[in-house]
Amino acid sequence: MSNAAALNGEDFNPMTEGLRDGQRLSLDVTRLGVWDSYLMIALIDVMRRCHDRHIGVDTSGLPKGMAALLELSSRVPERTDAIKGVAHRAWLERLGESARSVWLDGFFLTQFIGESATSMVALITGRARFRPIDLWLQIQACGPSALPIVTLISLLVGLILAFVGAVQLALFGAELYMADLVSLGMTREMGALMTAIIMAGRSGAAFAAQMGTMNVNLEISALRVMGFTASDFLVLPRMLALILVMPFLGLYADLMGIIGGGIVAISFFDIPLTQFIQRTSESVHLTDFFIGLFKCSLFGVLIALAGCFRGIQCGRSASAVGEAATSAVVTSIVFIVVADSVVTLICHRLGI
């Protein structure tokens, strides 16, 4: 081995090539200066080659540290059965596996919904085990704290609705009817939908992250040993909080949306305020509000279910908590949109 500035593994290959069976390779390191792990890696490689070709290697010339490291690295033989190969799997197998995981997911979700329903019954009969203070804390976290973002989003959605509608209505000279469009659109549909999507991102993700971390820290196991179930102690306060808070947030979003629409009507389309208010009050009925509020509570249940479900399902690592939060938002939004479509269809059929 020369004292060249840098050696790498390939430089050693020619050394072994010329050797034949029965010959011995002896290593002379008298001129070796500084060495690091790469020399060891190359050396181990040389020794493996020599071993395969039945060439003896004389390591007595190596410095003490190097010999000890060589010995250490070969002391525990490689566990060939421990190596995780990247198994190539046929597409049919992968498809089957995905289908199975979807099926299992559905199975566990059904089980989880059952447990939550049991907790609801326990709540009504007064046997549910949770701390009322947790409910208040959740109401605080889900409700008042969400007001600023709900204000901003609903105001802008009302604005957009008004603009999109007014441009089309202007073709018939019926700009005034943008008041109908905005107020009906907000109360029946957009108020609930936008609030739900905001809450899925805010509270749904928070639920999943909180419960996921509790799972990682064995806090949920500790609760279970103490006789508390996760569905009573953790899911119930969160679900109740959302059920209670969502209608209020939705109502507030409706108001904000209509104000947004009003701003557009007054400032861009010269509709007098009194006329806007009059059209709004004529077009929106109490039923429309109730449909919106019902949807809000329904979405609240769905967000709490999705958030808590993903949190409880969470694996035991930091990345699993992140995945749980992401998946909670995705699941909530899917649930929300599907449920919204179903409710809208039912309302249409019933003619309300």
Binding site: Q210, T213, N217, L218, S221, A222, V225, M226, G227, F228
Partner: protein
């Protein structure tokens, strides 16, 4: 240890098989824990010690076999009955597993408020008393994240003791503690056993603890997938012929058995 006379035993395990899905971790486990024991479940890493603990405290259902608390079955009964049985059990998890969103006082008050008829004031007094027992008097208002790992563990112990359990489980009590804290915890465990008359079951591979306070033990082996030794740790060290047990108890120097390895 295959005595089936369950009258004086607190916990009896019969022909227990532990599994994760289809993978059997341990099988054919038979042992009993008597009142006042400090019973050590030992074995190398990954042999299924903690899994056995999860089964004993009712968090995981065995694939096969029975666990009895006194004469009552733990599995194969309704979840209300199981919960009733586990009411006399306290568990200290490896990391303490305190609820991180609550203060120490709230953590300890949690089981008290739910399962006792104590008034608010009595609960506060009990909480302070339990915290004082583990040397954390005055830390009522702290959150678990504000105190050290060793303190979290002791607070976890205070919570495990909240309902004056007859049986206390410890999962790796000395893991992550410095030698002095670990020794103090050992002493605490021993004095709890003596003063409260509790039965202690601990999962550990900390030799110092095992020899210092263990009165009975089983040794789980991951290759044999079952328990390969029973008895008091001192006795095992003196009489066991099994190289796996001796290697473990002497940190890989079986020739030094009986030469005071325990004080190493």
């Amino acid at each position: 240890m295959r005595t089936m006379n369950r009258t004086d035993s607190v916990i009896t395990v019969q022909d227990l098989t532990l599994a994760y899905g289809d993978i059997v971790i341990q099988k054919a486990l038979n042992f009993e824990v008597r009142r006042g024991d400090i019973f050590v479940i030992m074995g190398g890493s990954g042999c299924g010690k903690s899994t056995l603990l999860m089964h004993l405290i009712g968090l995981q259902k065995p694939l096969h076999g029975d666990i009895f608390y006194g004469k009552e079955r733990l599995w194969g009964v309704s979840s209300e009955q199981r919960e009733q049985l586990l009411r006399k059990v306290g568990v200290l998890f490896q990391s303490g597993a305190l609820l991180s969103s609550m203060t120490l006082a709230e953590n300890i008050a949690l089981p008290l408020a739910e399962f006792t008829a104590l008034s608010k004031k009595e609960i506060d007094q009990t909480v302070s008393y339990k915290l004082a027992l583990v040397g954390l008097a005055g830390f009522e208002g702290y959150y678990p994240s504000e105190i050290s790992g060793g303190m979290q563990k002791r607070a976890g112990l205070a919570r495990a003791m909240a309902l004056d359990p007859e049986i206390l489980y410890f999962d790796e009590p000395s893991a992550g503690l410095d030698p002095i804290s670990a020794q103090l915890l050992d002493e605490l465990i021993q004095s709890l056993r003596d003063s409260l008359g509790a039965t202690i079951i601990m999962v550990t591979h900390e030799l110092a603890s095992i020899f210092a306070i263990g009165t009975h033990s089983i040794f789980l082996d991951s290759e044999a997938k079952t328990a390969i030794a029973f008895g008091s740790p001192d006795q095992l060290l003196k009489t066991s012929q099994d190289p796996r047990v001796l290697n473990f108890l002497t940190r890989g120097h079986p020739e030094r058995a009986g030469q005071g390895v325990r004080h190493e």
